[in-house]
């Protein structure tokens, strides 16, 4: 294989493969973009191109051997001497389905503002609220589903019961937004915010703070220095609780949950995560009641994915208008073609770049 052929072969590979090849060859390769990575790979292996080539082939063979990307008749085409223009993109290994790909017009269909509708809570929202009167609740639903509604309604019910509510968010900025939002809903006198050095309306029944502040309150309470009425605390809402997996700050969510007083219900609101059941089971194992998991992964507003070429041309990304769950390779032929063109032209030796 000549250096040009090798370069072209590398350019066809997903970046992940290039990173694997770069291991042990290129220092700090994670910083490099695709084109730079190819340059570096070729440069560092200039004494041993054959070694690099055989590693590429080995990796390709290995990927082919893996079950997930189905047998790719196209992949072997990499080695075939056919003209490069005919190549199919690297991930395009799926057997073509017979249905025709969606047209751009079909893809854009439905775009626009829906007719105004009266607000009706979703079943999952009602389920979460109903469960919360009995036990702790973990909600894991896609972004934009309406978790705030659950938080607001749950807070309203607890306050009607003369219970204090604490709402935490991971970021001070989000706390401020929620402070404004909740003050509008419940009235300014009902909502307070606590930061490290300040309290605004600290005696209000609904208190907003970052999770760190709540953790500190709980530690103070445990050692007998209470300054917030934790004894009347009825509900603790932890928004964006997927932060429990944050490498630096995740521990704070665990501490907060472990030390949350048992008479207060816990409401964990989280974006979609892979193992919400684990979180719910964990809660069940350390709290007094069996906690309830409310989850779904269907987006309320359907999502479509598109591909916009640098020359302004727009195409659907997938063959279907909707995103084909579980089928990353069902690419739209137009998007496939355009992206291949892009990769070829922005390759290190691409005529337009050098």
């Amino acid at each position: 294989m000549t250096i040009d052929e090798l370069e072209r072969l590398l350019a066809q590979q997903p970046v992940a493969v290039l990173h694997r090849l770069a291991r042990g060859r290129v220092h700090r390769h994670f910083r490099a973009g695709k084109r730079r990575l190819i340059e570096l790979l070729l440069q560092h292996s200039s004494q041993n191109l054959a070694g690099l080539e055989s590693d590429v082939q080995a990796l390709l063979a290995e990927r082919q051997g893996q079950p997930q990307p189905p047998p790719a008749s196209t992949r072997t085409a990499h080695r075939a001497p056919s003209p490069p223009q005919k190549r199919v993109p690297h991930r395009g290994g799926e057997p073509e389905s017979s249905e025709p790909a969606v047209s751009l017009a079909g893809w854009l269909e439905g775009l626009g503002v829906p007719a105004p509708q009266p607000f009706v809570p979703d079943p999952w929202q009602q389920e979460a609220l109903a469960a919360l009167s009995e036990t702790d609740v973990v909600v894991s639903v896609p972004t934009g589903s309406g978790k705030t509604y659950v938080a607001v309604e749950a807070a309203r019910r607890a306050m009607e019961d003369n219970r204090t509510v604490i709402y935490t968010s991971p970021l001070k900025a989000l706390s401020n937004t929620k402070f404004t939002e909740f003050s509008k809903i419940f009235g300014a006198d009902k909502v307070g915010i606590l930061t490290g050095d300040r309290q605004e309306n600290g005696q209000a029944p609904l208190l907003i703070m970052t999770t760190e502040i709540l953790r500190n309150l709980l530690y103070d309470a445990a050692s007998g220095e209470i300054d917030v009425r934790l004894d009347t605390l009825g509900l603790v809402i932890l928004d964006e609780s997927q932060y429990i997996a944050d490498p630096e700050r995740g521990v704070v969510w665990e501490e907060t949950i472990i030390f949350c007083p048992s008479q207060a219900k816990l409401l964990l609101l989280s974006a979609s995560i892979g193992n919400p059941q684990d979180i719910a089971d964990w809660l069940t194992s350390i709290r007094q009641t069996t906690s309830r998991l409310v989850r779904h992964s269907k987006r309320t507003v359907p999502l479509r994915a598109g591909y916009l070429h640098p020359n302004g041309k727009l195409a659907p990304l997938f063959k279907t208008a909707a995103i084909p769950a579980g089928h990353p390779n069902h690419l739209h032929p137009e998007a496939k073609r355009l992206f291949l063109e892009y990769e070829e032209e922005t390759m290190p030796s691409g005529r337009s770049r050098r």
Binding site: R31, G144, S223, Q242, S285, V301, N329
Partner: protein
């Protein structure tokens, strides 16, 4: 063809297809700022009516947050209806832009992907231009969860019937990562539980030492460790079943009996080979050098990818992933330490001995490990101690040579002892999984005892009583500084400078104001102490230039925000965050008013001085 679409063309294309409002996620703040600049002379201005709506909305926000009024991007926002929103901006600016987006005034916002989680406003369309994200210091591919978090901003309930996620390529893009992210199932999340010094002090303040293990057992970390332990226990159960045919024979512990006999038998003729045999300690340690295990080598650390025996000598060997990404082969004997830390590793049978995803993950984990790690306590099994001469000589005392199960023992010993070894290994791993949090806790306790925050019986000392109120990063350094009276007589500006340099964890270079000699010498002292504490706590960056920025703000109360910004190349948002974080540190110091009144007083003064101008705008 350009490597990526021009921002003006992008907005024009989106408008043409009615795909606005949109959030355009870009790789860096620089990219966002440059995108905004490219609109300076663009002619895609909004009709006057819409410009007026934006102006009116801006005026309403400015009434709340005066700092927004002076923002240099305002003309572009008004004229074209596009804005930038990233960590380099003040919170008030971000709130303003979010408010405008919520009201539907803008056509596009350029934001950084790093902040996708903090962007709490939706749009009809999100535009994705990259497939990797800067995490700590490296770029890593976006996870499925992250791609969905980003794409999730598209499609506003009640305002859009459908949402759009549009990918436009840049040289940094791997389409596969994004298509997988859009179509895949989000990853499972794992506990990141760590045991911090303030946690130990606060736990011991409220609970007796013997209850702590039960409290740690309530963590999600322990829950997940237990899950892994249960998996091993199930494996152990199958091993028990497999062991059944090899149950007690004439002697109850026939495996040991046979091995001892066999060893003794072989030792007699070749006494000189005994020395060459693997030491029992090495054998015991080798059991723990399983894939995913973190080990200490002469030069730094590594993660074991596989264990094997060398071809000729059958020496125990391991393949180790090193922090630079290289895979090296080492004799197990060269392993200096075996740490109480093991990661999941999806093993494969060919180089690099694990799946690509595992490799990346392990490599990432390896670079993220704390400087101090607990080591595994490893018991050296007694049974493989070299045989005392007495036994060897009395070989005739073994029942084996004449025993009726001798042929069975001889035949089965290989399989049976392998099964038993595996059993022992699993049992030990299970023990380690169940007790690892407690070990780590004990280690922290020992450090706190050594420094005098805890008594030998693990009660809080007088110093421990106040030190537990410092619940921030680098708490040990801060409490040690206080005990060393480093701040005695220090004025608020010096205190603020030091706290800022401890709080700041970004190493981005830039131009900064000069530091005062007083603060400079105090920082020298802090650095020395931080270095001496480094075995127990990672030292902070302690940048003098950062300290100088904070010092200036306090030392000169007439300095305006704009004036401060002019003194440095740091972005406004970064200065704000630095001061806000410093404020947090100072307010923790302020809680020490009972025991350190003058220090708390100095902190209170510093807090009051920091809170002016834009730092007064938000609670």
């Amino acid at each position: 063809m350009p490597p990526s679409i021009h921002p003006v063309d992008l907005i024009a294309a989106l408008r043409l297809k009615h795909l606005t409002p949109a959030i355009v996620f870009l790789t860096s703040r620089r990219a966002c700022d440059e995108a905004m600049e490219s609109f300076d002379h663009a002619d895609i201005v909004l009709p006057p009516a819409r410009q007026e709506i934006i102006a009116a909305a801006l005026d309403r926000v400015i009434a709340h947050y005066p700092s927004v009024a002076e923002h240099p991007l305002i003309p572009t926002v008004r004229r074209i209806g596009v804005a930038a929103h990233h960590a380099g901006h003040l919170p008030s600016w971000k709130i303003a832009i979010e408010e405008l987006m919520r009201q539907g005034c803008l056509d596009a916002v350029f934001a950084t992907t790093t902040l996708a989680a903090g962007v709490d406003f939706p749009a009809r369309t999100v535009v994705i231009t990259q497939s990797s994200i800067r995490k700590s210091r490296d770029f890593t591919d976006l996870t499925i969860g992250e791609v969905q978090q980003i794409a999730g901003r598209a499609g506003r309930r009640g305002k859009d019937q459908v949402g759009f996620a549009v990918i436009t390529p840049s040289p940094y893009i791997d389409l596969g990562v994004l298509t997988k992210g859009l179509t895949g199932h989000p990853e499972s999340i794992d506990s990141q539980f760590t045991i911090t010094y303030p946690m130990v002090l606060n736990l011991l303040k409220a609970h007796p030492h013997e209850q702590i293990q039960g409290i740690l057992a309530k963590s999600f970390a322990q829950f997940q460790l237990n899950q892994r332990a249960e998996l091993l226990e199930r494996k152990l159960d199958t091993l028990h079943v497999q062991m059944e045919p090899y149950g007690p024979r004439l002697c109850s512990d026939w495996i040991t009996q046979w091995q001892t006999f066999d060893q003794a038998r072989r030792q007699r003729p070749h006494r000189q080979h005994v020395k060459q045999q693997e030491s029992p300690e090495l054998t015991a340690r080798f059991h723990f050098m399983t894939s995913g295990r973190v080990v200490g080598l002469a030069r730094g650390r590594g993660i074991v990818l596989r264990q094997y025996r060398s071809k000729g000598q059958r020496n125990p060997m391991i393949s180790v992933l090193r922090p630079d990404g290289a895979v090296t082969e080492c004799p197990a004997a060269t392993v200096a330490e075996i740490f109480d830390r093991a990661f999941e590793c999806d093993e494969t049978s060919a180089f690099p001995w694990c799946s690509a995803a595992s490799f990346d993950e392990l490599h990432y984990q390896l670079t993220e490990l704390p400087t101090r790690l607990p080591t595994l306590p490893i018991l050296v099994p007694k049974e493989s101690d070299p045989l005392p001469d007495a036994i060897v000589q009395s070989l005739g005392d073994f029942p084996c040579p004449t025993c009726s199960s001798r042929p069975a023992c001889q035949k089965d010993v290989v399989v049976a002892s392998r099964l038993r070894q595996e059993q022992q290994r699993h049992t030990k791993s299970i023990q380690a999984l169940r007790a690892s949090l407690w070990h780590r806790f004990q280690e922290r306790v020992e450090v706190l005892q050594k420094f005098g925050y805890l008594t030998p019986s693990a009660h809080l000392t007088d110093d421990g009583e106040w030190a537990r109120l410092i619940r921030i990063d680098h708490s040990l350094l801060i409490t040690e500084l206080i005990r060393a009276e480093a701040f005695a007589g220090a004025d608020p500006a010096l205190l603020t400078g030091v706290m800022a340099s401890i709080a700041h964890d970004d190493d981005r270079p830039g131009a900064f104001p000069r530091i005062s000699t007083g603060l400079s010498s105090l920082l020298g002292q802090v650095r020395k102490l931080a270095e001496s504490l480094s075995p127990y706590e990672d030292p902070p960056l302690l940048r003098a230039d950062i300290a100088a920025v904070a010092e200036r703000w306090i030392a000169d109360p007439t300095l305006t925000w704009i004036g401060l910004c002019r003194l440095t190349t740091m972005a406004e948002g970064d200065i704000y965050r630095l001061l806000a974080r410093t404020l947090e540190f100072l307010s923790q110091i302020h809680t020490l008013h009972g025991t350190h009144p003058s220090l708390a007083d100095s902190a209170a003064k510093a807090i009051a001085l920091i809170r002016r101008g834009v730092l007064e705008e938000l609670p």
